[in-house]
């Protein structure tokens, strides 16, 4: 538990995976869209794992943070397109707005819902996502149900060439960087007091309380961090890449379900799990769509069921047990 040499060695495999995706996409340009999809799933899992994996709490409204981040970037670009010479400043402001808005939403939701335990928390969060979507549509804020289309604004700010490069290439690169950053933050948390507190509360919240751990504080830290990465993911993978946002797309609940599957498949609370889960999930989805188009979800459900029954700790959780006490222990975390 104390400082020991090589405590950050575990970053090597996870960062190598993100770098590998990038390199593969550059070497095989016709596979870039596949890489973009895989990066999205890995990043989604990595961000969600910061909360679900570290605390053991399931947030069924998680995609709301991705959606709000998407709006953060969309609003920034559409409002700032008239500002002379703003250029890349608009991107920075957009990312900050995305992070800030998802952080604020997570504080508002967390302050109420994180007082609830386990299943009650899960139930309470289901409503958040749908509620927020209908709030945007019903109250007609942020252009209501018409959404925001800002491809014109993107061109006005950056010029045609750069705007295309941003949505077809750089948006995906940002997603890879955000996923890798989420992994770095995860390991920093794991190796600090925060991680010990979160592990303790995940394993036994009552025991954590009686030894003096301020559990609510650490739950909120994990919740906000996870939400911020989700917001950044939305700002890049959805806003920047698609150049439009509609409420039903931004708050589509099946992304929450996919995030849960990825984290469970890879191993909740592990560092490497979301990448393994994201790759497994993304590749199987891609492959099933080719060999059995239209049937992928029907086939995918039982496959996931079998994996979760056979490896309840996820792929990486299982591997971690296998390498305990060996030299690989430091790398598979």
């Amino acid at each position: 538990m104390s400082a020991r040499p090589g405590k950050y060695l575990a970053l090597i495999p996870v960062l190598a995976a993100y770098l590998g995706m990038f390199v593969f996409g550059r070497v095989q340009p016709d596979m870039w869209q596949l890489v973009a999809m895989l990066a999205f799933y890995c990043c989604l899992g990595q961000a969600f794992n910061l909360f679900l994996g570290m605390t053991g709490y399931v947030d069924f409204g998680y995609v709301a943070f991705v959606g709000v981040g998407t709006y953060g970037m969309a609003l920034t670009l559409s409002r700032l397109s008239g500002v002379e010479g703003i250029g890349f400043g608009a991107l920075v402001i957009g990312l900050l707005a995305a992070a800030g808005m998802s952080a604020m939403l997570s504080i508002a939701v967390g302050a109420v819902a994180l007082r609830l335990r386990g299943a009650y928390f899960a139930i309470a969060t289901i409503g958040v996502n749908e509620g927020f979507r209908y709030f945007i549509e019903g109250a007609r804020i942020w252009n209501g149900s018409e959404g925001i289309i800002f491809s014109k604004d993107l061109r006005a700010i950056f010029g045609r060439e750069t705007a295309i490069a941003l949505s077809t290439f750089w948006a995906d690169v940002f997603v890879i960087v955000i996923g890798a950053s989420a992994a770095v933050v995860t390991l920093i948390y794991m190796r600090s007091k925060i991680g010990f507190a979160l592990t303790a509360l995940r394993e036994d919240e009552d025991a954590a309380k009686v030894i003096g751990i301020f559990v609510t504080k650490y739950k909120i830290i994990a919740f906000i961090t996870s939400a911020v990465f989700a917001g950044l993911l939305g700002a890049t993978a959805w806003a920047l890449k698609l150049t439009y946002v509609y409420p039903p797309d931004a708050f589509e609940i099946h992304y929450t379900v996919e995030a849960i599957i990825i984290v469970m498949l890879g191993g909740a609370g592990t560092l490497l799990g979301p990448v393994v889960g994201g790759l497994l999930y993304g590749l199987s989805k891609y492959w099933l769509a080719i060999i059995l188009p239209g049937f992928q979800l029907l086939i995918f459900a039982p496959i996931i069921l079998v994996i979760i029954v056979a490896f309840p700790e996820g792929t990486v959780g299982y591997l971690k047990k296998k390498v305990r006490g060996t030299a690989l222990e430091r790398y598979i975390v």
């Binding site: 538990m1 010990f196 394993e203 009686v210 030894i211 003096g212």
Partner: protein, 237 residues
């Protein structure tokens, strides 16, 4: 001198009130026993005193300090802790890691090495099993880890909720021996909730009987033992 003073405490869960103004005092350096059948609010009282359950009325004084509204993590800093009912340990951590987690607070961490020595002297088996994953220990050893982890918080007063629950008769005796050692050798103040009335009466310096969220009787163990009325009505011994 009273280390802990509880006055007219009220608390519960949501709209369900469990504690109906019980009052009690725990003398410094004593073992005070809280007895009563299941479901009368003994655990709720301990959880409320620590601050895990919020009180809705009454007053809690610890070392002459009003701690009624103080959150549990601050109370742990003041040297108050609880061994919760059931075996609440961190199952995937090793025995050693469980103990280190006990010294999570800054104040406790400063005394970590001496606390570890104390704990290993009290429970030598935990030193032997140091590297074993806590979830794979036997029931009795798990209970030892829970008590040992509480000691790692560097407490002055420790509340124990049914520490002998579910243990083999031989181990029940060992748990009570440990409790008496904690008082005699370590100098801890102990508030003990037990279903094992006979053993509890033998160990205690003072006894409270709780029923339906209220204190129904109190006295020295001999007095309680001497009153057939109390024994029949509340203890079944």
């Amino acid at each position: 001198m009273a280390m802990l003073k509880v006055e007219n405490l009220e608390s519960g869960y949501g709209s369900m009130q469990v504690l109906w103004q019980p009052s009690l005092e725990v003398e410094k350096g004593s073992i005070t026993s809280l007895l009563g059948p299941n479901g009368v609010g003994k655990s709720t009282l301990l959880l409320t005193v620590l601050g895990v359950v919020a009180p809705s009325g009454g007053k809690i004084t610890y070392e002459d300090l009003d701690v009624t509204r103080m959150p549990s993590h601050d109370k742990v800093d003041l040297g108050l802790t609880l061994v919760p009912e059931g075996k609440h340990l961190f199952p995937s951590m090793t025995v050693h890691e469980n103990l280190l987690m006990g010294a999570y607070r800054k104040e406790a961490r400063r005394h970590r090495e001496e606390s570890l020595e104390l704990v290993h002297a009290l429970f030598p088996i935990l030193k032997e099993r140091e590297k074993q994953v806590a979830g794979s220990l036997s029931g009795g050893q798990q209970q030892m880890v829970t008590i040992a982890r509480a000691l790692m918080t560097k407490p002055k007063m420790i509340m124990m909720d049914e520490p002998s629950q579910g243990l083999a008769p031989k181990l029940v005796g060992e748990v009570f021996e440990t409790i008496e050692k904690l008082k005699e050798e370590v100098g801890l103040t102990i508030l003990l909730v037990e279903q094992n009335a006979a053993a509890s009466l033998d160990a205690a310096d003072y006894v409270y009987i709780m029923h339906e969220g209220r204190i129904k009787a109190e006295g020295k163990p001999e007095e309680i033992k001497g009153s057939s009325e109390i024994r029949e009505a509340y203890l079944g011994v």
